[in-house]
Amino acid sequence: MKEMTYAEAIRAAMSEEMRRDPDVIFMGEDIGLYGGAFGVSVGMFEEFGPDRVRDTPISEAVIAGAAAGAAVTGMRPIAELMFMDFSTIAMDSLVNQAAKMRYMFGGKAKVPMVLRCPAGSGTGAAAQHSQSLEAWFCHVPGLKVVTPSTPADAKGLLKAAIRDDNPVVFVEQKLLYRQKGMVPEEDDFILEIGKADIKREGSDVTVVVYGRMLQRALEAAEIVAKEGIDVEVVDPMTLVPLDKETIINSVKKTGRAIVVNEAVKTGGYAGEIAAVIAESDAFDYLDAPVLRLAGKDVPIPYNPDLEKAVVPSVNEIADAIRTVMNR
């Protein structure tokens, strides 16, 4: 184990896989000498050279398209979109091409690519550089969607994503890039895609949370613990495929569920998770309505106070926990 940042963990995952498998290549805007807009790939250009770490023009449509094309012909490309917001430009390549090739070709193709998407607000980058668009991709069969929330998860899941034979949208949290954590150094440290992690065990309320909101949920859990409320925090880690069993079992245990995500509430994945709970066995165990805590239904504003108010805060999560406990 070694302490590293979320960004370093992602770099380690990519580098390890590139050393292991010559078919793994990495491309994106300013990922080479510049080291990526967030410094994630610093040093990789020097190690792997311009053939395998490829700076692209500012051409998102073709970045994703090229990744799909490379993948279907035997490479394992990792493509970085500088901001998840720019996935809009790459949508056709991803949604109509990469996601569907295998199925519409009758299972005769595989598309082992990873699209890394730095997401989330909190950086002051305003409406076009702050979005959390994971729900869009969850809505496209053929894509897997992974949302790591700690350095170790990022490393283990990215390695798994690179080895996966399907297109994986890997949602990174810009604000977590500098967060530190202990990360296994072993080459074979792989986390299973589609497996949730119980980040905190508890008996009273289940908080299902992923991405940047995890840390806030854990803090909220500590606050309400002083009030005698024992919170279980479940991090699905992968949104598609979703580890329904872990979530449902947790809710069956606690009887109360809150789903927290940063993305806007309407049409967001928190709603999907809430629905999974509601239509499952856990329904009969619910002792309170399932709550969603999510971003306000607005674009991310520039003003820092407004920007903070958009996404769920620690206090709001704690209040929601109290609400379902009727406190």
Binding site: G255, F283, D284, Y285, L286, D287, A288, N326
Partner: protein
């Protein structure tokens, strides 16, 4: 779709009504406007006419059953037509029950819970969490009986748990009021009765069937006795206590019994006179037992020797008069105690004793209700008994046996005359009371009953 027959709201203030009599049977046809059933409201009896023509498909309310207005009590439709899911709670009444009458817990069958769940639109429906619903379903509790403590009165799992804890070994069957009364009276365990009413509701006929079955089994049992000589039924715990107490009393106390005949003409007149007023005030009818308890309490005040106990170190003469009333139940005798009966007016005795008897019938008597008696009254008059020797309820020193009031020809002022006559029997513990004070007590009691106004 079958049309509902409901308990109609026949007046602004009417909240519930009693089904007196169904004028049609299930399966019979009715014409629109034809009398269908008779109900009694808080004011009057009235006939309810069918609102449509058709076949009376289902009767959901037993005769004698008291139901909130708007309750569905039956269905009229085409023969063989399917009934809608039960909606036996009025759309506005459930919450009222939850709010105002949390103690009124009636057990309910699982199927009935579907109806509870069907009323969750919150236009007066039930607000309850899935967890509470599941628990209630498993425990066979009607959610409408559980008071919700959650937001907006929502019933939480913890509320059902509290209800269950409070309820203890709750009976778990949905029953009609009449069926409940019969089963209470006959000591039938309702949880063992399979309901044939709508949604598995236990109806009086179901209880009667069980009762018939029991009787025939008893008949079979006696046949078996003939064949096998005898059979042993293990003693119930109540039976054991009674056996022990009676044996102790019988073998420790040297007793004798004094009988006296009382002319109940004036007492009967008194009863008739006060009956309407007391009914209005308490909702209960005044009984002869009430009058006898009233007079006995007054007499005991005058004859403390009869209101005494033998204790270590001597005889304890009680300053207070606490009259035990023997209540026979199928499983055995219980004696709830009317505290400070000598301080009570007739009206108070009526309501207090009825409440005790009701509690006894519902097995709701608490230890407090059954302790501290200083004297006991046992009335077997309703069985036509002419006289009997009751056994003293220790540590009392005496017990009064009340027999039937029977019209007899007696000489009044030398002329033969028919009078309602009743025998009172006082069994006395001779260790405490001698014959003379006992006899004087009886003479005084007779005087009070024959001339009630003498008290004034």
């Amino acid at each position: 779709m079958a049309t509902e027959v409901i308990m109609p709201k026949a007046g602004m203030a009417m909240e519930e009504g009693t089904v007196v009599k169904w004028l049609k049977k299930e399966g019979e046809t009715v014409e629109k406007g034809e009398p269908l059933l008779e109900i009694i409201t808080d004011k009057v009896n009235m006939e309810i006419e069918a609102e449509i023509s058709g076949t009376l498909l289902k009767i959901l309310a037993d005769e004698g059953e008291v139901l909130p207005v708007m309750t569905v009590i039956g269905y009229i439709g085409a023969p063989g037509e399917a009934l809608p899911e039960e909606k036996n709670a009025p759309s506005t009444a459930s919450e009222t029950v939850v709010q105002s009458n949390p103690e009124a817990k009636a057990p309910v069958s699982g199927a009935d819970l579907a109806a509870d769940e069907a009323t969750t639109g919150f236009e007066g429906g039930l607000r309850a969490t899935p967890a509470s619903r599941k628990l209630a379903r498993e425990a066979g509790i009607a959610l409408s009986r559980v008071a919700g403590t959650g937001p907006k009165g929502r019933i939480q799992k913890s509320d059902v748990e509290a209800y269950l804890a409070d309820e203890g070994s709750a009976e778990s069957t949905h029953v009609s009021a009449l069926a409940k009364r019969i089963s209470d009276a006959e000591g039938i365990d309702l949880s063992q009765v399979k309901g044939t009413g709508h949604a598995g509701k236990v109806m009086s006929r179901d209880v009667m069937n069980i009762l018939d079955g029991t009787l025939s089994r008893q008949a079979e049992a006696s046949d078996t006795v003939a064949a096998n000589d005898s059979y042993v039924e293990p003693l119930s715990s109540v039976r054991k206590v009674i056996a022990k107490r009676m044996t102790e009393s019988f073998f420790t106390a040297p007793t004798f019994t004094l009988n006296i005949d009382v002319d109940m003409t004036e007492a009967a007149a008194l009863r008739e006179r006060v009956k309407p007023r007391i009914l209005a005030a308490t909702g209960y009818k005044v009984t002869y037992t009430d009058i006898i308890v009233l007079m006995t309490a007054q007499a005991l005040k005058k004859f403390p020797a009869v209101n005494a106990s033998l204790v270590e170190g001597g005889i304890e003469y009680h300053n207070r008069v606490h009259v035990g009333i023997a209540v026979g139940k199928p499983e055995g005798l219980v004696v709830p105690v009317l505290k400070n009966a000598d301080q009570m007016k007739l009206e108070s005795i009526v309501s207090a004793s009825k409440e005790l008897i009701e509690k006894a019938n519902k097995n709701k008597l608490k230890p407090d209700d059954m302790s501290g008696s200083t004297f006991t009254v046992s009335n077997l008059g309703m069985y036509g008994i002419s006289h009997f020797n009751p056994i003293i309820n220790q540590p009392n020193s005496a017990i009064l046996g009340v027999s039937a009031i029977i019209d007899k020809v007696v000489a009044v002022n030398g002329e033969p005359c028919v009078r309602p006559m009743m025998t009172l029997s006082l069994t006395i513990d001779h260790r405490v009371v001698d014959g003379a004070p006992g006899a004087a007590f009886m003479q005084y009691l007779k005087q009070l009953l024959e001339d009630p106004y003498g008290l004034l």
